[in-house]
């Protein structure tokens, strides 16, 4: 595993840990939408739509 791969793995491990933190549906949805902007450089806005049926 290269150092780039190592740092990517560490980065996403931290992201995953952050996303697991709330442990409640509504708060997790909010966090997912907000953190997407930090993770994906091109992303300026993010929304999550839930399937309801």
């Amino acid at each position: 595993m290269s150092s780039d791969q190592h740092s990517s793995a560490a980065f996403f491990a931290a992201v995953s840990k952050d996303l697991m933190q709330p442990g409640e549906a509504g708060l997790t949805f909010d966090l997912v939408a907000k953190e997407a902007i930090e993770v994906v450089p091109a992303c300026d806005h993010c929304a999550f739509s839930l399937r309801t049926r």
Partner: protein, 202 residues
């Protein structure tokens, strides 16, 4: 589908417009293919009603990714960029990995939320059972059976009925429930015939 989270009012508006029009990459990501990238919304012919409207409002490009657990499709994550051709191949890769982690977190959170509600409901049902046992001299099983029968007759979820029993310290009157006014004096209440029937089966 419904938009439940957004990082900005614009993102919420663009998502909600897809649900209203029933077209757009978010809708397709849930019901058709997993991932949609629209590099230039002003010139994308796939969603003829939606794309021009959001492009006019400042959306340049969009990447929509289905989020799913092993058991179900949760929804779609929709990433918008202000300019056209914003998403590179690296951005798409990062977004796909992120979406995978997001789906795991959402699935876990949904499960935990459901379990918390279930535990709380069971606790309330237990209290309601205790109230009925004391008030009407019923066994634990008879008290639960009474709750179940009332729930069935009134089409009120058993957890909501349990909260009513806790609030009123007795069985709500069926006629009052039908009129939507559960507040009244229950001092003279006795278990109805369904509770009496349950005695014979208990």
């Amino acid at each position: 589908m419904s938009t439940v989270a957004s990082s900005s009012p614009s993102a919420r508006r663009w998502d909600e417009l897809q649900h209203t029009l029933q077209q757009g990459p978010c809708v397709d990501a849930v019901w058709a293919d997993d991932t949609y990238l629209a590099k230039d919304l002003a010139h994308d012919p796939r969603w003829p009603q939606w794309s021009p409207r959001v492009a006019a409002q400042g959306a340049g490009s969009v990447l929509a990714i289905r989020l799913a657990s092993p058991d179900e499709t949760l929804g779609a994550l929709n990433m918008y960029a202000d300019r056209a051709n914003a998403f590179t191949a690296d951005d798409v890769d990062l977004a796909l990995i992120y979406a995978s982690h997001a789906a795991d977190a959402m699935s876990t959170a949904k499960l935990l939320t459901g379990l918390r509600i279930a535990v709380k409901s069971r606790h309330h049902i237990g209290i309601a059972q205790g109230i009925l046992m004391l008030r009407y001299d019923l066994s634990q099983e008879q008290a639960f059976d009474t709750l179940r029968r009332y729930s069935s007759q009134t089409n009120i979820k058993i957890r909501d009925l349990a909260e009513l029993v806790i609030e009123t310290r007795g069985l709500p009157d069926l006629e009052i429930l039908e009129r939507g006014d559960p507040t009244r004096d229950h001092d003279a209440d006795l278990p109805d015939s369904s509770a009496q029937e349950s005695t014979s089966t208990g």
